[in-house]
């Protein structure tokens, strides 16, 4: 629970309990917005269903804009927010692998569990594969370690990197996202015309 936990307002145990509830909420929203369907996720790559893009973009812009407002009202200290450390080469490689995995498997790690919960067999095999992959990665990690830790940039934000105000980034991303909503909707329309049978 971010800044609440590190300011000592709640104990570590309560923090875990809250994490469970947040996880449930996350899973619920993933399912409710259609992420438990491999077709929905792979559809973003084939152009007949962009719900994944829209949901993620919505989450990103609402959070981004919301955090800036909360910080402005003095409700949230942005300097206490966890920022994922940046390792440039390994992150680019990782995202390419993840994208390939999403097209092939039709899930990303989190959504596969949401799909297992509603009884999808393909998701079950995806989740098993996930653990095998983790095991293999752990075994070969000593060979990859140098690459894994290369290009360390620290806990940086785009504002730190470029010096451009966070508000501009939020605005820019929102505009991109809003344009993407309308563009994807029109692409969907065109592509779906060619598909005769379409169901989820």
């Amino acid at each position: 629970m971010g800044p609440i936990a590190i300011n000592g307002l709640i104990s570590a145990n309560l923090n875990l309990v809250i994490a469970v509830f947040l996880g449930m909420g996350f899973g619920f929203v993933l399912e409710a917005s259609g992420f438990s369907s491999a077709r929905n996720i792979a559809g973003a790559f084939y152009g007949y269903n962009f719900v994944v893009v829209r949901v993620f973009f919505t989450a990103v812009i609402v959070t981004m804009v919301g955090l800036l407002y909360l910080s402005y009202f003095g409700w949230l200290n942005l300097s206490q927010i966890f920022i994922l450390p940046t390792y440039l080469p390994s992150m680019i490689t990782g995202s390419v692998i993840m994208g390939l995995g999403m097209i092939i498997g039709g899930f990303c790690p989190g959504t596969s569990f949401a799909a297992v919960a509603i009884g999808k067999i393909d998701a079950l095999f995806f989740a098993i594969g996930l653990y095998i992959g983790i095991f293999i990665f752990a075994e070969v990690f000593p060979f990859l370690e140098k690459f894994y830790l290369s290009g360390y940039l620290g806990h940086i934000t785009l504002t730190d990197l470029t010096g451009i105000k966070a508000g501009w980034w939020a605005f820019g991303f929102t505009v991109i996202a809003l344009v993407a909503f309308w563009v994807t909707a029109s692409i969907e329309k065109k592509v779906r015309k060619k598909i005769k049978e379409y169901k989820f």
Binding site: V65, N77, F82, W168, A170, F171, T174, A185
Partner: protein, 205 residues
């Protein structure tokens, strides 16, 4: 297309536009001006030279003396085990490492209490707690501890007790008052435990 989508797009666009106009909070944590003024008016930050002398004699490990005078004056004379943090380095990360350590009470001093007090105000603005100011400064230190004045005969008992303590403290700090003209220094080599970079737990998707 549903009409609601137009509303959604419009609201989100306006909200994002708003973020351009809201000012960002300062990165370094500072306390609010109202709070600062309130704290500035409290006299609790002042400690006397007698209290410092007592702590020094007792070798109180939680006491850290910080000399805020310029380095040149610090090199000539300072109190035992004091570290030098001139006004300029107060606002640098290197100078700030001495402040805000849990369990450590930092006492600032200068020639008078003025400069130390100003340093205290700046530190308080930067939200540092547990800092104190030695009232009288080094001038007061000389006047009270090194050259204590004998209280008049009519003075209360406590004044004489204090005088006795100061004489003893003087003995401790100057070594029986033997005057030596040779160059001397009361500074010790100070070694600091280097602060380690905080490890942050990694998260992932």
């Amino acid at each position: 297309m549903n009409r609601n989508y137009y509303f959604l797009t419009a609201i989100m666009f306006v909200l994002a536009l708003g973020t351009l106009f809201i000012s960002e909070r300062v990165v370094s944590p500072q306390i609010s001006p109202d709070e600062l003024l309130w704290d500035v008016l409290q006299p609790t930050r002042f400690v006397t030279t007698d209290q410092i002398a007592k702590r020094l004699i007792e070798k109180d490990p939680s006491l850290l003396l910080v000399d805020v005078r310029p380095a040149a004056e610090y090199n000539k004379f300072t109190l035992p085990n004091a570290v030098n943090v001139p006004l300029d380095s107060l606002i640098t990360p290197a100078g700030q490492e001495y402040f805000g350590n849990p369990g450590t009470k930092v006492v600032l001093f200068s020639n008078d209490a003025i400069l130390a007090n100003q340093a205290w105000v700046l530190l308080r603005r930067m939200a540092f707690k547990d800092n104190y100011v030695m009232k009288g400064g080094l001038n007061g230190w000389i006047k009270t501890i090194i050259q204590p004045e004998r209280p008049p005969q009519t003075a209360p008992e406590t004044a004489f007790e204090r005088y006795d303590f100061r004489k003893a403290a003087r003995l401790y700090f100057t070594g029986a008052g033997v005057v030596n003209s040779g160059k001397s220094s009361s500074k010790t080599k100070v070694v600091f435990k280097r602060r380690k970079k905080a490890a942050v737990a990694a998260g992932g998707c």
